[in-house]
Symmetry: C2
Subunit: 361 residues, 2 copies
C-alpha cells in the first residue's frame, strides 16, 4: 500500500490481534450469526488487517456490515442454495449472506472439488460485500493449490474509457500461489486505479489523491493531485487511468470479472440492473499439472530472483505481490495491528452500547 | 489499437483474405509443416490480421518464424508429449513446436475436456511464439464457452516496479465470451503498457511512443514522448507505467501469468533461466454454471448497455474489448486487409525465391 494510505503515527492505536478478533466475533454474533460462522467471517477481516490490506479490514467494513444486518439488508442465517452443480462447478444462491460469510465456505467447495478433479470453480450470487479477494485465493494456496477469486463489486462506480457515465464497480481480482521458503505470491487488487475504500481511507487520514485516479461527474478524468472529494462527487478510473496510458486494459479486466461473476453465475448484468455483484472462487490443484515439490522450489527461485533485482537509484528494493503482506503479518502478529484511534473509539462505543465484551487497549 | 499504430494510408496495400491466407499456408508448408497444420497455424495469424491485431499477424511474425524454422530452432513435425493428465488438466511438452502450431490443438483439448467435466485447462511448455492469446480464447467462445489463454512470452524484456533490470516478457492474457447478437467479448492484451511488437510497428510507420511506456537500460521510466528506440536499447514497463499510476498491478498480472505458464506447467522460472515461456489454455463450459441461452441474452444486454454509454465530449463513442475487432473483421473480409507495402514486398520476394505461388495484388 502506498505510504499516503497508512494511518499517521500520531493517530495509531496498536491492538493485539486476539483482542480485535474477539471483539469482532462478538459484534457478528450480536448481529445474529452463529458462533462458528462469526469466527470465519471475522477471520477474513482480521487476516486482511494483518496483511496490511486495511482497506478491507474492520476499519472500513465492520460498521457498514453491522448497519446492513440491523436494517435487514443482510441475512445472518442464510441457507446456501446450490442451483447447478457438476464435478468441477457449482452455482450458489447465497440467500442474502454477507460476502465474507459465504466466501470461505464457497472457496472451500472449490478446493475440495479441485482435489478430486484437478480444478474447480464456484460462482455465487445474491450476496453482500466480499472484503477483497486475497483471503480466498490464499485459502487455496495454503492447501497446495493456485487460488483465484473475483467479485463484481458494486455497480455505477467506474466510467469506461471515453465514457461519461459510470458502469461497473471496482471489480477486484486476486490470485495466490504457494512457495516453499519465500513468502507466497498473493496478488489482490481492484481493477481501478485505487480501491474505492481507499478514497474513504485517504479522507480519514487527510491524504491527497494522485491525478488520473478519478473523474468528475461528467466522466472527465481529473489529472491534478487533489483532496479526496465526498462520496457521490466522483467516479473511479480503471487501471491505467487514461486511454493513452492503457485504461482499456483495466476496463477489459473489470468487464471479464463482470461477465464471470454476474453472467456466468446467472445473476445478470450488474451495470444494467444496478445490483451488487456476484463472486467467483476458483482453485487449480498444482499436483494435477506438475510435481508440487518441484513447483515450490521453482517458486522460491522465481520469487527470490525478483526480490533480488537491484532497485533503481531512488528506491530501496523490488517487491512482488505478497512479500510486504507477509512481512506486515509477521510484524503485526508481534506488535499489534495499527488502527486509527477513531476506529478503536467506534468499537468501544458500539460494544458498550450492545453489551459486547471489548478490550482493545 | 491506437491510431498511431495503424499503417498510414499512403503505405497500405489491401490484400484479399483468401490470397494472403494461401500465400501464408504455402510458406508454412515450405518450412516442412503438414498441410493441415499449416492451415491451422495460418488461421491464427490471418484471424489476428482480420481483427485488427496487426501486431500479431503476418507482418511481425511470419519472417521471424520462417527464419526460426530454417535455423532449426523450431520443429515443423513435433510430437506432442502428454506429461501429466487428469479429467480436467493436461500438461504437454510441445517438442519445439511453434506456439501457433500447438496452440489450436491445445485449446481444443481444453474445450473437449470442459465439455465433459465443466472446466479444463492445458499447460504447454517447450514451444515458440503464440502470436497473442485472443485467437485461442475465441475458439472457446465460438463453442459456447468462456475461453482464457496466457503465454509467459520471452524473458528479460520488462522491469518490475522500482527495479533496474528486466525480469519477464510481455506476458499477454486473453479472455473471450460469446453473446447472441452483439459482437463477442474478446479481451486480448499484453500486461505491459504496449506489446513489444508495437514498438517495431511504431518504428516501421514512424509513430512516437507515449511517456511512461518504456525505460532506459537502467530501468528508469522515460516519461517524455519519444521516437521508438532500437531493439535492445529499452525495456518495457508494465500496465500502469509508474508505481503511483499502478504499475504494480500490471506487474502482478504478469507474475501470475509467469507462475501459471511456467511453474504450473513444470517448465521452471523464465526470469531465472532466460527461457521463452510456456502457454496456458483454459475453457469454462457456460452450461455447467448456468443456462447458456440466458447467458447470451444477458451478454447482449450488458454489452449493448456499455456500447450505449454517452461518450465524453472529446470522443465519439464507448468501446468494449471485441467490438472494434468485430467491425474490423467484417470490413476487412469485404475490403481486404491493409498491409504495409514493405510486408507485401517481403511476401513477394520470399515466395519468388522459394517457388511458392503468391498473388497478393
Amino acid at each position: 500500500m502506498l505510504e499516503r494510505f497508512k494511518v499517521p503515527e500520531r493517530d495509531r492505536v496498536y491492538v493485539a490481534e486476539a483482542h480485535v478478533r474477539a471483539a469482532t466475533e462478538g459484534i457478528f454474533r450480536h448481529s445474529g450469526i452463529s458462533p462458528e460462522e462469526a469466527a470465519s467471517s471475522t477471520d477474513v477481516l482480521i487476516k486482511n488487517d494483518l496483511r496490511g490490506v486495511e482497506s478491507h479490514g474492520v476499519s472500513n467494513g465492520l460498521r457498514r456490515y453491522v448497519a446492513e444486518y440491523s436494517a435487514n439488508k443482510l441475512n445472518p442465517t442464510p441457507e446456501f442454495k446450490i442451483e447447478r452443480e457438476t464435478k468441477t462447478t457449482m452455482t450458489v444462491d447465497a440467500d442474502g449472506a454477507l460476502g465474507i460469510h459465504v466466501g470461505p465456505w464457497a472457496m472451500q467447495q472449490a478446493i475440495d472439488k479441485a482435489k478430486e478433479f484437478g480444478m474447480a470453480a464456484v460462482a455465487v450470487k445474491n450476496s453482500g460485500h466480499l472484503a477483497g479477494c486475497g483471503y480466498y485465493a490464499m485459502m487455496a494456496a495454503e492447501q497446495g493449490m493456485i487460488g483465484h477469486c473475483m467479485t463484481a463489486g458494486g455497480s455505477h462506480q467506474t466510467v469506461p474509457p471515453f465514457g461519461s457515465k459510470p458502469v461497473m464497480g471496482t471489480n477486484p481480482i486476486a490470485w495466490a500461489a504457494p512457495a516453499r521458503n519465500m513468502p507466497p505470491f498473493l496478488f489482490d487488487v481492484a481493477t481501478t486505479q485505487v480501491a474505492n475504500n481507499k478514497i474513504g481511507l485517504a479522507r480519514r487520514i487527510g491524504a491527497d489523491l494522485e491525478g488520473g485516479w478519478i473523474t468528475d461527474l461528467d466522466g472527465e478524468p481529473i489529472l491534478d493531485q487533489i483532496q479526496p472529494p465526498d462520496t457521490g462527487d466522483y467516479y473511479l478510473l480503471h487501471i491505467g487511468g487514461t486511454r493513452e496510458n492503457g485504461s482499456h486494459k483495466g476496463f477489459g479486466l473489470a468487464l471479464m470479472n463482470e461477465i464471470i461473476c454476474n453472467e456466468l453465475s446467472g445473476y445478470g448484468p450488474g451495470p444494467v440492473h444496478g445490483t451488487p455483484g456476484g463472486h467467483f472462487f476458483q482453485a487449480y490443484d498444482i499436483e494435477a499439472f506438475t510435481d508440487i515439490e518441484k513447483f515450490k522450489d521453482d517458486m522460491d527461485d522465481l520469487l527470490k530472483h525478483i526480490a533480488e533485482v537491484p532497485p533503481t537509484k531512488e528506491f530501496d528494493r523490488v517487491l512482488y505481490a505478497g512479500l510486504m503482506e507477509d512481512e506486515d503479518e509477521k510484524k503485526r502478529l508481534k506488535d499489534g495491528i495499527p488502527y486509527h484511534r477513531e476506529v478503536v473509539e467506534w468499537f468501544e462505543s458500539y460494544c458498550a452500547e450492545a453489551g459486547i465484551e471489548c478490550n482493545l487497549r
